[in-house]
């Protein structure tokens, strides 16, 4: 039963709504994070009362959080509260929830915050996409993260955990949860789970499965991705996504599995998900200085690898922008874990604050490159340009370009 909010909670919400209005009016972003921080400062457990009485789905993992959360929201249909501004920590959640009274909530959650947010929001469904190395100089190392997830996922009986059966670290994290719906979805990146998360021996892989001599193995899935379709609980669905890439098929399959767990009609949800063409500026075509850009957010090896596979092998120029600010991680050593060798035969234009790190990496990969100190040096292009950028570089290019 939902309790009425305390005077302190009401004050927190009022303060944050006021701040959000002011910052929107002054044109300085949506201001949600600042508003959320003020709200939490006044009432530290504001998230508990804001989430109470609503049906929440949380989405976490290294790659695909933003897209999958957007697919959950779109597939649910109608008015869904979601933190679509990219702020995926409690201040962003508080701000999103204070902005709407809709009973349906889809929240993207930073991997390190999942436990804290779960205990406050008490979600009906938690979606665990994947775990791989990302910004290691500031985030926890991936195995520690999997261990922490495992510690918080065993709590509630009525909670559904939708988890990727092809990611051994995710399987380990969800192995104590009571109600898991395993998803057999495309997960090409295996470099971070070569050794068993339970006992550290080498994992064996064969015929799309994996196992360890200690008994830890791929669980039986309820959802299975197929070429142009999927099966959920024995029922087959055709699927033609507008979004590109196998990784988006995985995101969609997990979003649908989560929606099925809160009794949304899968056929109807699928039709709404198929119609999604862009998420937070990603996968969209943009215009900049007479050129058409396909803007791709690539901020870690697994994400980069998946996106490199979508580059047409026709020798077209590729632009890549790399920064190393706080949001990107200060250490760009992960560039050596990205299989840039796939770009041999393309000319790559190196942009961003760490363009020399990128150019050196490409040089050792045998990929032809040019270092661009000023964006005015970039060549004209008749065809759309694939522009890969990590987090803050992506934001810069989004701001610099306009929608087609």
């Amino acid at each position: 039963m939902s309790q009425s909010p305390s005077p302190r909670d009401r004050l927190g919400v009022a303060a944050l709504r006021g701040l959000n209005r002011v910052s929107r009016a002054s044109g300085r972003g949506s201001g949600t994070v600042i508003g959320g921080r003020v709200g939490l400062a006044i009432s530290p457990h504001l998230l508990v009362s804001l989430a109470q009485g609503r049906t929440s789905i949380l989405v976490s993992g290294t790659n695909g959080k933003t897209t999958t959360t957007a697919l959950v929201a779109a597939g649910w249909g109608g008015d869904v509260v979601t933190n679509d501004t990219g702020s995926n920590m409690p201040a962003g959640h508080v701000a999103a929830l204070a902005g709407s009274t809709s009973p349906r909530v889809a929240l993207e959650v930073d991997e390190a915050w999942l436990g804290a947010v779960m205990s406050e929001v008490d979600p009906r469904v938690v979606v665990l996409l994947n775990l791989s190395r990302d910004q290691l100089d500031r985030a926890s190392e991936v195995r520690q993260l999997a261990e922490r997830w495992r510690g918080v996922l065993g709590d509630a009986d009525d909670r559904v955990v939708v988890a990727n059966a092809n990611d051994p670290l995710v399987v380990y994290a969800a192995s104590d949860a009571r109600n898991v719906r395993w998803c057999d979805v495309p997960t090409p990146w295996q470099a971070d789970a070569q050794s068993c998360p339970r006992c550290t021996l080498a994992l064996e892989r064969a015929d799309g499965s994996w196992y360890c001599s200690c008994g830890f193995a791929k669980p039986t899935a309820i959802t299975t991705s197929l070429r142009n379709g999927l099966v959920i609980a024995g029922e087959h669905y055709e699927m033609r996504l507008a979004l590109p890439g196998a990784f988006n098929e995985a995101n969609a399959a997990m979003a649908l599995t989560a929606l099925a767990a809160v009794d949304v009609d899968v056929h109807e949800a699928l039709a709404r998900i198929e119609a999604v063409t862009a998420v937070a500026g990603r996968f969209t075509q943009r215009r900049w200085n007479g050129r058409t850009l396909r803007l791709l957010l690539a901020k870690n090896p697994a994400g980069f690898d998946a996106l490199l596979s979508t580059v047409e092998p026709d020798g077209r120029d590729v632009w890549i922008a790399i920064n190393a600010r706080i949001a990107d991680g200060h250490d760009p050593s992960w560039l050596y874990d990205v299989p840039f060798e796939k770009l041999r035969g393309h000319l790559v234009w190196c942009l961003g604050e760490r363009r020399l790190d990128l150019a050196t990496r490409l040089d050792y990969a045998g990929v032809e490159f040019r270092v661009v100190d000023d964006v005015d040096e970039l060549p004209g292009a008749e065809r759309p340009v694939d522009l890969f950028a990590n987090y803050t570089a992506f934001s810069e290019w989004l701001a610099r370009s306009v929608p087609c």
Binding site: E141, R143, A202, L335
Partner: protein, 225 residues
């Protein structure tokens, strides 16, 4: 034939450490050396190589890597003159003891008189080390405090960051090279890569102009002492 072996990268390869092996191979090839780059997986025998590379890893994988390498012929090959370049967790494994999972002490390969205890803080950030005329620039992320025994020389003196103990970074002992600057430290410091290659090939290498020199200069300017 120059063979360069990357050791158990599935356990020790957390920070793009595989880049170090790639850099050595490509810079040797650019000098006309026929070079083979191999990788030793968890269940493989130790390959026959002139240079062995050890990267960084988390506690569990570090312990397992140490077990695997202790059973291999790495120690005897190193004593017979094979070169070993180790970074981060790899540096700790070469010594006599290191700490994992709290303060549990674990026996290393014992190739030199070097011990690592759990440091009071984790060291995360840019590292700048004076090595003679040169600078070593890179990034460190570790929780160790490393002490060198008699006869083991530090690789260099720390000008920014922490290294072994806030004063020195890494060590040199015979054919062993070790630093806390994790992978791909050889990409950021082409002189370091060439020093290793030169020591193995036995001759002075011709300079190799490449974008890596620009990267080195830029990082030396960016990381202030």
């Amino acid at each position: 034939m120059l063979t360069i072996a990357n050791l158990v990268p599935d356990l020790l390869g957390t920070y793009g450490d595989g880049g170090n092996a790639l850099v050595l191979a490509q810079r040797a090839r650019a000098r006309g050396e026929e070079t083979l780059l191999v990788s030793m997986a968890l269940n493989d025998e130790l390959p026959d190589a002139s240079i062995y590379l050890l990267g960084g890893g988390e506690d569990g994988p570090q312990r397992l890597a140490c077990d695997v390498l202790a059973r291999s012929s790495l120690a005897s090959r190193a004593r017979d003159g094979a070169t070993v370049v180790a970074v981060c967790a790899g540096l700790q494994i070469l010594g006599t003891t290191f700490c994992v999972e709290g303060d549990d002490r674990y026996a290393g390969l014992g190739l030199c008189d070097v011990t690592t205890a759990r440091g009071s803080i984790r060291s995360v950030g840019e590292l700048r080390v004076r090595v003679g005329e040169r600078l070593l620039v890179g990034f460190e992320n570790h929780g160790g405090r490393t002490t060198l025994g008699d006869g083991v020389l530090p690789f260099g003196r720390v000008e920014h960051g922490r290294g072994n103990d806030g004063v020195y970074d890494g060590f040199r002992a015979g054919t062993l090279w070790a630093t806390y600057a994790h992978g791909p430290v050889l990409a950021q410091n082409p002189w370091f890569a060439d020093a290793v290659l030169s020591s193995v090939l036995g001759y002075e290498l011709e300079p190799l102009d490449s974008v890596a020199d620009l990267l080195y200069e830029e990082r030396c300017r960016a990381i202030r002492s």
